[in-house]
């Protein structure tokens, strides 16, 4: 699972306003056509509701508090699962990266478990935890763990050993070596792992909430499906998309803060 750093050479907020609009022309046009087709009755609401009725559903569910509650619950599950899996992956990645002994003990085990697609564990996880929150948190944590672990570990291992030797010559103690060379040197890789993990986090949560849940965005969608409320179903899908986009933007901001020196920041 070696992911290369994506090249984001120009930050979107540096473009002039007119050029910022260009990417939006096509989606806006499509939505317009969609709306027209729905109003003419050419597109059945059982297949796709009109964009305006999705907006109406959003307003209605927001006012009733249902939308906020369900989004909040999904967000909470995502975050808790991510924190558990991410911190274990990060800690283990650091440990195995820094200590060859730990690596010998643990790395091949982790690599073996990695070959099991975590979503394939769903039946087993339901048997273990039932269909409550622990099952979902477990799946999210497991999914998030691997990309964070692999990229942290690989980031440390691919450090230039010459830089470490230089640090020793210049009198850095092990602790300083870690903070000034090992961690900053591995950070670009760690952030790649973070971005990848956030993607997996949403996918896992969507699957887990759709299969069995009594709250959350996935539940909202499945519940609406039973009553043929396609507008709410589409709204739920859009909420997932929005949250995914938000997570991605957060990583971009972190890259901007933490890697100001990196060529991807276009210095």
């Amino acid at each position: 699972m070696q992911i290369t750093q994506s090249k984001t050479s120009t930050s979107p907020w540096q473009l002039p306003p007119l050029q910022q609009l260009i990417p939006w022309i096509v989606p806006a046009g499509l939505i317009f056509i969609w709306q027209v087709l729905s109003q003419l009755g050419l597109l059945s609401t059982r297949i796709l509701p009109a964009p305006t009725s999705i907006v109406q559903a959003a307003i209605q569910l927001t006012l009733s508090g249902e939308l906020i509650t369900n989004v909040g619950i999904s967000l909470y599950r995502a975050l808790v699962g991510f924190l558990i899996g991410g911190s274990i992956g990060f800690g283990l990645g650091l440990l195995n990266g820094v200590s060859p002994i730990a690596e010998r003990f643990l790395d091949s085990t982790v690599q073996m478990i990695r070959n099991i697609p975590h979503l394939a564990l769903i039946p087993l996880v339901i048997l273990w935890f039932g269909i409550g929150d622990p099952a979902r948190l477990f799946l999210v944590a497991l999914g998030v763990f691997f990309p964070i672990y692999i990229n942290t570990f690989h980031g440390i291992r691919s450090l230039d050993p010459n830089l470490l030797e230089m640090g020793e010559v210049y009198g850095l103690r092990p602790r300083e070596l870690f903070w000034t060379i090992i961690l900053p040197g591995a950070l670009p890789n760690i952030l790649v792992g973070l971005r990848y993990a956030l993607g997996i986090m949403w996918v896992t949560l969507i699957v887990a909430e759709t299969i069995a849940a009594n709250s959350g965005i996935g539940y909202m969608a499945m519940n609406a499906r039973e009553f043929m409320q396609t507008d709410v179903v589409v709204l739920s899908i859009l909420m997932y998309a929005l949250l995914g986009k938000l997570a991605d933007s957060i990583v971009r901001v972190l890259e901007h803060w933490w890697l100001p020196w990196h060529p991807s920041q276009g210095i």
């Binding site: 010559v169 210049y170 060379i181 020196w261």
Partner: protein, 271 residues
């Protein structure tokens, strides 16, 4: 002199120390069965500038790494100021051929790496010394190759080492930048009087900078030649050229009549 400049200089003067004295005895280094250095004896006085030349793979870097305490000898000892060197040499700083700067630290933070007291002030002083005092906030990727080597030099100098080990520090630089850097190293050495060992492929550079030029061949010191020409040295002068030829002949194992003919000297550069 402004107030801050004055403080910087006085900070520097307080810590001033003489160069290290080195005595190398029966030093051997082998990697497995492969004998790299064989029974080397060498003494370097405090404040002396010794340049080391030799063919690629003859063991120059290995010697430097032993002096820096980065590798341990298989046999023999290194005495520094009368004491056997064990483990990392705390009095020495190494300037590597690849600058080995940290891309995630700004220029000034690279220079003040590992300093515990007045890191910023001292780092700025060292940057001023190498003529980069006006760009402390830049990233390493924004510097040219020559500027990076100057930052690496500043980093090596900032802790006022008693021994400076330079492993082909100018190897990757163009001829013009090289001359500038050579002058810079010579000036800083004359001001601070640390002991310096500089490894180079370039015989002219060796003669230009060294109080003594040492030739290593197959792990042995085969020439130990004091250079008494006055500094700064005129690379175009006849005695300079003669010393250069003498060293090159030694390295290339060429036989020639004792009095070298002018045409002969000229043809040397074609080889």
């Amino acid at each position: 002199m402004t107030q801050t400049e004055h403080q910087r200089t006085s900070v520097h003067n307080v810590k001033y120390e003489n160069g290290a004295h080195l005595k190398i005895q029966n030093l051997s280094k082998a990697f497995g069965n492969f004998q790299v250095l064989k029974d080397i004896d060498l003494e370097v006085s405090p404040g002396e500038f010794v340049t080391v030349v030799g063919k690629s793979g003859c063991g120059k870097s290995t010697l430097l790494r032993l002096l820096g305490g980065l590798d341990q000898p298989t046999q023999g000892q290194i005495y520094q100021n009368g004491q056997i060197l064990q483990g990392l040499n705390r009095d020495a700083r190494v300037m590597f051929q690849d600058s080995r700067l940290l891309p995630w630290r700004r220029v000034l933070d690279n220079v003040s790496l590992g300093l515990k007291h007045q890191a910023q002030q001292q780092g700025q002083w060292a940057l001023d010394q190498v003529g980069l005092g006006d760009r402390p906030r830049q990233w390493i990727s924004q510097l040219s190759g020559g500027q990076r080597q100057r930052v690496a030099l500043a980093r090596a100098l900032v802790s006022q080492p008693r021994l400076l080990l330079l492993d082909e520090p100018l190897g990757a630089l163009d001829a013009l930048t090289r001359i500038g850097m050579q002058n810079l190293i010579e000036t800083l050495w004359q001001e601070q009087r640390f002991t310096a060992l500089l490894v180079t492929h370039d015989v002219e550079e060796a003669v230009c900078l060294g109080d003594r030029v040492i030739v290593i061949e197959e792990g042995n010191i085969t020439l130990n030649l004091p250079i008494t020409l006055p500094r700064p040295r005129d690379t175009a002068s006849v005695p300079f050229a003669e010393l250069k030829v003498q060293i090159l002949d030694r390295i290339l194992k060429r036989q020639r009549p004792l009095v070298s003919e002018p045409t002969y000297t000229a043809s040397l550069f074609a080889t």
